[in-house]
Symmetry: C2
Subunit: 405 residues, 2 copies
């Protein structure tokens, strides 16, 4: 079957590579018919590339090729990927994507269009890179009420935090190392501020609870305020700090969804997810906790998920897969700061006495080199707003949520 690839960056070139190098396994799944890349769309030139004959700068070459039934979109960004994808779906072609930004922003319209035109829009690679999560979640959903989801969804920040934890690095030095290793962009904002994780939370929440959640509905806090001192206090109680995306079911019409640093205790499956690995934990009322772990980014892992979707779309040209969701609403995602209670880690310039007079008998932490005027402690369960009120008048340095995952 003829297919096309849009975008020849890391993922797109990986997709072409996996299709070429995995002809045998792919053919087994498509009744002996291999996928043949007929067009590669990219505005850049790749002189000397062995696939030069396949390149085009004209999107219409793909749109108008009636033999192309499945297209991989690995362009990234909302435009022109949205416009192209819409046109392809309306032309009766299935589209698979690794583009989390597009799915998070425009997934609803694209899924509805795919449904209308009887084709597939698949996005396994948009969350967790190579980790199968969209289909397994679909399966968990079939006989469970999902209570919550927690995920380490960004490899760059997890690499940075791992270096801070294991090698006692400062944030800035760990970020530099991530950049030197190619794990972080020159402008690392989307990763370290949590925006990338936020998009993935939107996709997981939309899929899990059936209503589109948009990035601006998900309160997002990055890891730039995390210090070696915080890491050290948390280590003293056998915990680690991770950037977590969390989603909690509240009612048929309400969920909470947020991205922030969070304390996970050793023993949790999420605690041992290190370096650029990702993991997604799904909590169902019948199955309990299930967890999916693997490489959340990288050329071949992500490409293998894109190609698996292409194979699936190729097998289902006559029939749609049903992954999807409906419209959301402005008040669907609640303000977690006033609704979700949890314990917090707090570090402050204060005294044990002053803290006790406000927070009662809390657990105090200690670290090597702790200054006499610094305290760190774990609060009882409360909302973030309640915490904020209690901290009024206290010179706090940092607060971090503590999870029950």
């Amino acid at each position: 079957m003829k297919v096309a690839v849009m975008g020849y960056g890391t993922v797109g070139s990986g997709v072409v590579e996996v299709i070429e190098s995995h002809r045998a396994v792919i053919s087994k799944r498509t009744d002996g018919e291999p996928l043949e890349v007929a067009h590669i769309l990219d505005l850049r030139d790749f002189p000397g590339d062995e696939r030069e004959a396949l390149f085009t700068k004209d999107f219409n070459d793909i749109l108008n090729d009636g033999e192309v039934k499945v297209v991989a979109e690995a362009m990234g960004g909302v435009n022109p990927a949205y416009d192209f994808t819409m046109k392809l779906l309306k032309a009766g072609k299935s589209v698979v994507t690794s583009n989390k930004e597009l799915v998070a922003q425009k997934g609803l319209e694209l899924l509805e269009t795919a449904k209308e035109y009887g084709v597939n829009y698949l996005f396994e690679a948009s969350v967790g890179g190579g980790i199968p999560i969209i289909r397994p979640m679909d399966q968990c959903l079939a006989a469970n009420n999902i209570e919550g989801i927690a995920g380490i969804l960004n490899g760059t920040t997890n690499f940075i935090l791992t270096r801070m934890i294991e090698d006692k690095m400062e944030f800035s030095k760990a970020l530099k190392l991530a950049q030197e290793n190619g794990y972080a962009e020159q402008d690392p904002t989307a990763d370290i501020e949590g925006f990338d994780a936020c998009r993935k939370v939107c996709i997981l929440a939309s899929l899990a609870f059936g209503k589109h959640v948009y990035p601006n509905q998900v309160e997002t806090e990055g890891i730039t305020n995390i210090t070696r001192e915080d890491v050290s206090y948390i280590a003293s109680i056998n915990g680690v700090i991770k950037l977590l995306g969390q989603i909690k079911y509240i009612s048929e019409d309400k969920i909470a969804a947020f991205v922030s640093p969070a304390v996970v205790f050793n023993g949790s499956q999420l605690a041992s997810v290190n370096d650029v690995f990702n993991a997604i934990l799904v909590r169902g009322d019948a199955v309990g906790d299930v967890c999916f772990y693997g490489r959340g980014a990288g050329k071949l892992p992500t490409a293998s998920a894109v190609v698996a979707d292409m194979v699936d779309a190729a097998k289902h040209t006559e029939r749609r897969k049903i992954f999807g969701w409906g419209a959301g609403s402005e008040d669907y995602v609640v303000d977690y700061k006033t609704t979700i209670s949890m314990p917090f880690y707090v570090r402050a310039k204060s005294s044990v006495g002053a803290i006790k007079s406000v927070f009662g008998e809390v657990k105090f932490l200690s670290r090597y080199g702790q200054p006499a005027d610094e305290v760190a402690f774990i609060t009882d369960k409360m909302t973030e707003n309640e915490l904020k009120n209690k901290l009024e008048g206290i010179k706090f340095i940092n607060t971090i949520k503590i999870t029950d995952y």
Copy 2:
């Protein structure tokens, strides 16, 4: 849609319970049509059970009910489950099962019959209880050459080993605790001798590499020889002992598959799988390592996987899912003892000098209370037969494989 459940033990009663308690989520997936349990087959009486009206002791009540399109088999054992399943498939009914013994022994015939009669035979719950593994593996397989699989597949033995590791219990005491907690049967043989894990290895290997592997082809060693002393030596090098099922790709016509205690080092996703939890790690050439974790047994987790399969079968009455495999052969599974090289942990009544003279400069381990005439060490990579040869003349107490997972 009318469905039936065969076997009203732990899993079967859980299936009925999940169908009743999850009407809303199930209906969402089946276009508004809930599953209705029309018959429950069990030879026992359940006087006073609220579902009394549904019970039958006559299999023909299910076989001859033309409205029943999907049947859950949770009887366990090969007979009469095999006979019943065959008849149902031939009558055009899809069957889903949690019965690993039946799938491992008779999966090929049942899958071929299902294919012939255009119905589904689904078995997600037969491996890893509630953990989605069959479908995710299918997805991994679509664009990866699978290099190997390693799994903690039996909750009972993992509970026992966890207690030996965390609480320094003797094996016999940990087994007793497992029995008291309902995690182990009065006759614990199938679990502690590795037979249960062996059946799951057969199913995973058959699915991953497309040829049926039978239990008698998988060399199986249980955990009864593991002692606190071994646990203690292994802890000194930051490792833990797990009962692992391992499968390794060798060539298109050869695999290795075996069940045994094995050393996993902390940092591996498999090392932090404790108590009755299971995990399955799949290593693909494109995706790298992915790992699936959750409750591998228990009433509701397993039942939720059975019901998810029932939902899938209910949605696909017109169309078959393609999970399956072909015939195997006697020489398909190689003797791993002569082909797979790995390091080993060895404990012996010997001396450092004697060991060095045979094994060269190996790493020696120590433990609290180590007798003067006992040594423990880690060998270089070798096959198990090579190890056996080298150990001739040495009074060894135990040897344990060391994994690269």
